[in-house]
Symmetry: C2
Subunit: 320 residues, 2 copies
């Protein structure tokens, strides 16, 4: 059986590194692509000129396929798309918005488009407008989350029963166990975020990387439901927001408490008390800051070991 995600993006392993604000520039993306996965430059924290710079550096750092993640709700999305097309990027992952408005421009230039969805309804819509693949992102994911709060366990089988294009599972996937489980649920690829955020090549601040390593299973929390759900590591800032939310704070009050550039403060500037430390629920399973190559080798060798273990365990269900 061929892997459709590998065929679509012309990569060796169906492991995609999520586009992450302040984390995934050319350095991380090219390192992942060089290992046979698919690296994504996260345009979410870049102005158009900076995005162009990262794309150009990425092309110099790898001759393997790479992609760009575009958050469609950005005010300057047209300028970002212009850069992507001018720089001849061949793979785009879209999120936070509706791909239908933009997809023709990509398809006309043979750009492959995967859209991030968090419910079956969104998945069906992405398929109907012509996306080549979808990323089914569970509520375990760091950063922005869908309002329905579907976990990977609920979302991926729903998508896999109802959608024909390939499904890439995302949210809380940090090791070989998660990759195997995602495939068991019906995915043909995985998108891994937080685990790649805590690597040598990630452009995040060391304080942020250390915070991920120190975190436990219950260290993340969902906040800001009224203005757009976000998962982050608990700190002074999230506690303040949770208190406000518990008291029934309004959208305006929450916007004021959030302020501007809260992600940059936490992830890039390293203020882990007052910044927004976006991270997925899998943080408790992350215990080191390896180079991407080391992490990738670990994924592949552990997947092969765990496949053997899993097959042994499943013998209990054999009809004999």
């Amino acid at each position: 059986m061929k892997n459709r995600v590998c065929e679509l993006f012309q990569i060796r392993y169906p492991i995609i590194q999520a586009g992450m604000v302040w984390v995934s520039g050319w350095k991380l993306a090219s390192a992942v692509s060089n290992c046979g996965g698919l690296g994504l430059i996260g345009a979410g924290s870049m102005k158009p000129d900076l995005l162009r710079e990262h794309i150009q550096k990425c092309k110099l750092a790898t001759n393997k396929p790479y992609g760009v993640n575009l958050p469609l709700l950005r005010g300057d999305i047209e300028d970002l798309i212009k850069v992507v097309i001018e720089e001849d990027v061949k793979i785009v992952f879209t999120s936070a918005g509706h791909p239908g408005k933009y997809i023709d421009r990509f398809k006309d230039r043979n750009v492959k488009v995967a859209h991030v969805v968090s419910s079956l309804k969104q998945g069906l819509k992405a398929e109907s407008v012509g996306c080549d693949a979808i990323v089914g992102e569970g509520v375990e994911a760091g950063g922005h989350n869908g309002a329905d709060q579907l976990s990977v366990f609920s979302l991926i089988p729903s998508l896999s029963q109802n959608v024909k294009i390939p499904i890439i599972a995302a949210g809380g996937i940090v090791n070989s166990k998660g990759i195997l489980a995602a495939f068991a649920l019906g995915a043909e690829g995985v998108q891994v975020g937080t685990r790649f955020a805590a690597t040598v090549e990630s452009s995040a601040h060391d304080n942020y990387k250390r915070k991920i390593v120190e975190a436990q299973d219950n260290s993340t929390v969902l906040i800001l439901q009224k203005i757009g759900l976000v998962r982050a590591i608990k700190n002074n800032f999230t506690e303040r927001i949770q208190k406000l939310e518990s008291e029934g704070a309004s959208v305006e009050q929450l916007r004021e408490a959030l302020g501007a550039k809260r992600e940059k403060l936490g992830i890039f500037d390293g203020d882990v008390d007052e910044g927004l430390i976006e991270a997925g629920q899998g943080v408790g399973l992350i215990n080191d800051i390896p180079a991407v190559k080391e992490l990738f080798d670990r994924f592949i060798s552990e997947i092969n070991q765990e496949t053997v273990v899993l097959n042994d365990k499943l013998k209990v269900f054999t009809n004999d």
Copy 2:
């Protein structure tokens, strides 16, 4: 490799039917046990005399192992334990409380004890007091949920890395894909709730079963965070609670809005608008109301088919 859950409970398949209020009496439990799984009588909605009646009927309906689920926070828990011991029940699943206080009485009589946990901390504690197994229940589960809101994807690998006793995964597991994924994450057994609630032998009202069948992926919601998180299917009642919560309602206001016997109203009396329709996030994947035997046969045959499919899919990771 032997399956430790099967050995512990002396069952053929490591599939456990969750104890569910107003749903899992002797009829459902014995049907599951007769198929080679482990049926649990849910004592949560039973007074001690009624529990005794269900245990006695269960013993007449099956000569296979069965168990009783005991919510330890019940005011009359001592009376429930007395019944369990007098009736010589050999398997107990404890939830909602600390098993340490009661475990010696069970161990002295060679009763096997599994405790339901929703975080690594709780799992380590259950192991340290001498539980034989733990049920790791993700936030996908219907009914009461842990405050940390860990999904199966985050919880099971954490437990499996840190706990030595067998782990049974629960929450959102409704079909063979979920069972395979749970095993991939490190579980040696699964506890299935909502899927068994929508069977012929479930004692729930037909309206409740139909509501499960009609539900979509995004039909459930988490409510009552301030007084104890519960997952239920959205209806008039949950909307009212969500509005109150959004306005910052106090514990007292929420208790008043909840009132008494809200689960019975929904699940047993069939008032699906005003009752509490406890159900897991996997409801969107449930589309029929089969007999337990039919469902069980489906599980086993699909697990075997999907294992072949999964192995084919995982070949993409093979080092060659």
